[in-house]
Symmetry: D2
Subunit: 135 residues, 4 copies
């Protein structure tokens, strides 16, 4: 089992992501990509994808990218800015670890639709624990 | 039907919140409160409540509080900071509109567990559209 | 010399704050207050107080509040939201440490003018180092 | 006078930036670069560049980049994350407008030292007013 396969297996244990159809599709050192196919259950009262779906997608990508070095990293603080609404298709989040700090890594995540339109930007700081993954 | 009842009815149309057991339990001018009873489906791979559950809870409270004046308000940017993990019980978010700006309202949301421990702090800026609610 | 006096003395060594007329006027456990009297040198190209003056005021209050327990705390990430512009008078920032975490404290700062109008809201997470203050 | 020259001239009216030695050195459509040569007056009580100097540098770059289309844009909310400290040399901020939205543009700013080390990351959302620049 490669490290990537192990990480993907570990994050399949994320019940909230899994039960909402959010999948980790790729992970490598300092990078991760997640996806969700939009269904009616992902919409808000206005008929658009609920912002929290984009947050969940980004947060899972962030977790995988920052944990990709093998150490458990939790989120300290995240900022998400919404730039465009969407109501169907596949939405993708790509996380890139900009700062691989020993204790406080920083990651940028872009969330896009099928046509590469930017839907949201998510930036977060993590805190690395002294715990190895898979736990 | 009172305005509060109407707003609650409107937000019951939020499929993502509803399908995840997140409920709007109170709303009044500039204030809203949401709740979720933690179940296994809300947990992350480490066995704690997934941060996105707290985000969803806060985001719904933010939406109700900023929409409480009757005008549709969308989220521009939100920052969530996680201060404590939780794995069971009921989690509550309370949103208070600190700035009731004509165009760019600002809201603070506190997320707490059954023992009033602070789990996360969510702050967001919205953008008021020229659309009335209920739509 | 009381602890508060020592902290104020320590922060008088902040050359950037001092050279811009920004003063730490009060500090106690988990709380700090800073002030600046607006002069022409604090204005931006539009004739209003430059946002960075408010940031500096808030950042100094944050630093003093989070360092008030005697341990050096540096800023990890800060978010500032501007709600009203100002061009004269005295501007005050009040920092309250909401989360006195061993490693990652969190602080809210309100920035107001002479009439108690809210000008900006600043929220930040710090990182406590294993270094005592005064250094 | 080119548009870039006009914008630079306009921002020379920023008294707070100018009085602290912070300069706008380049601006083009959706992009701006600012610089400061570190002097003792820029340091904090710990002997490092005060975080607010980096904020000021980034904020001026943000303002120039978002105003580069000729419409006055004010800051709604900014998040700055500090990744490395510095105490001398020249510090540069580069702002790139990622979202050129009619009303709510979004900009990313990277702040680096002489050796291209990343010192801080600044992200901000602006609000475009119906006012032309130069005013």
């Amino acid at each position: 089992m490669t490290d990537a396969t192990r990480l993907i297996a570990f994050f399949q244990g994320d019940a909230f992501a899994r039960s909402n159809g959010v999948q980790l599709v790729e992970v490598r050192e300092g990078y991760a990509r997640t996806q969700v196919h939009i269904e009616p259950r992902h919409l808000n009262a206005g008929g658009f994808v609920q912002g929290s779906v984009l947050f969940l997608l980004a947060d899972l990508a962030f977790a995988a990218a920052t944990c990709s070095h093998g150490t458990l990293t939790v989120t300290v603080s995240s900022t998400i800015t919404f730039t465009r609404s969407v109501s169907q298709g596949t939405v993708t989040a790509e996380a890139r670890e900009i700062v691989d700090h020993r204790r406080l890594p920083y990651c940028e995540v872009r969330i896009t639709d099928d046509s590469q339109h930017l839907l949201a930007i998510f930036n977060a700081t993590g805190y690395r624990k002294d715990i190895e993954i898979p736990l």
